[in-house]
């Protein structure tokens, strides 16, 4: 199972002028992992698909994706 957000800890210098942001994140949306789309993937209902922007839950990428998003 992949996650759509990755976190990393940037280097914190001893003389940084601003309070450090110890954790930064970047997006890794599902299309990075699927390659050529396989046939017969699970589909949303038409209404849900319109809302999500895709027919397939496997490609849905909520943003911001902080873990509190609707599925």
């Amino acid at each position: 199972m992949f996650t759509q957000v990755k976190y990393w800890n940037p280097y914190i210098g001893p003389f940084d002028p601003c309070p450090p942001m110890r954790v930064k994140s970047y997006q890794t949306p599902p299309n990075l992992y699927i390659g050529f789309q396989p046939p017969n993937m699970e589909q949303y209902s038409p209404r849900q698909a319109l809302h999500c922007g895709t027919l397939w839950p496997a490609f849905y990428s909520p943003y911001p994706s902080d873990g509190r998003e609707e599925e």
């Binding site: 992949f2 976190y7 990393w8 940037p10 954790v23 970047y26 997006q27 990075l32 992992y33 873990g67």
Partner: protein, 189 residues
């Protein structure tokens, strides 16, 4: 900082006086997918990308400057002993009028280099995909130049540079794989 070694990464030999080739080669000097654009693109992206791939951008960006130096040497050798008449015949009359034999950062059509050739989106995936695309475009450019060149010595250097584009593309693809891995995962609730 950088250390400089006063030698080329790979020897540059030019066997025939052919200023027309210099006009095409300058594409890799000051073109959108040339070595200058590559070096500046990678070295600039380093600051805001995850630590694990900073070193790769440093190494490849540095190597691109070594490639830039090779291209410069090729262009210089191809034009340094050309007469104004030969420059004109080679399609370099406009270049000669503006720059004499000096090299300049422009593409094969004479359009000066611009920073809008490169990007820094800040999104690590977007930036690395741009880098992969740039390497493939530079590889293609080398192919088209080799297709037009009948100088085996010059082509030897160009084939080396083309192969480096392939390796750089491979390394950037590996960097994407590193960023896709689930290590350092942190869940917030």
């Amino acid at each position: 900082m950088w250390n400089y070694e006063k030698k080329l990464q790979y020897p540059v030999r030019v066997s025939t006086c052919n200023p027309r080739l210099a006009k095409f080669l300058i594409e890799q000097y000051g073109g959108a997918d040339g070595e200058l654009a590559a070096a500046l693109r990678y070295l600039n992206q380093r600051y805001s990308i995850p630590d694990k791939v900073i070193g790769l951008l440093t190494d490849i960006g540095t190597e691109e400057f070594a490639h830039l130096e090779m291209i410069a040497t090729m262009v210089y050798k191809l034009t340094k002993d050309a007469t104004p008449e030969q420059m004109k015949e080679a399609g370099l009359g406009a270049h000669y009028a503006t720059h004499d034999k000096a090299l300049f950062y422009h593409n094969a059509a004479g359009v000066p280099w611009t920073a809008s050739y490169i990007q820094a989106k800040g999104d690590p995936i977007a930036d690395l995909y741009e880098d992969i695309a740039a390497e493939e475009k530079a590889r293609a450019t080398y192919q088209w130049i080799i297709n037009m060149s009948d100088d085996p010595d010059l082509n030897d250097g160009l084939k080396f540079l083309r192969e480096r584009e392939i390796i750089h593309s491979q390394r950037f693809r590996e960097a994407v794989e590193i960023l896709k891995e689930e290590r350092d995962k942190q869940i917030y609730f």
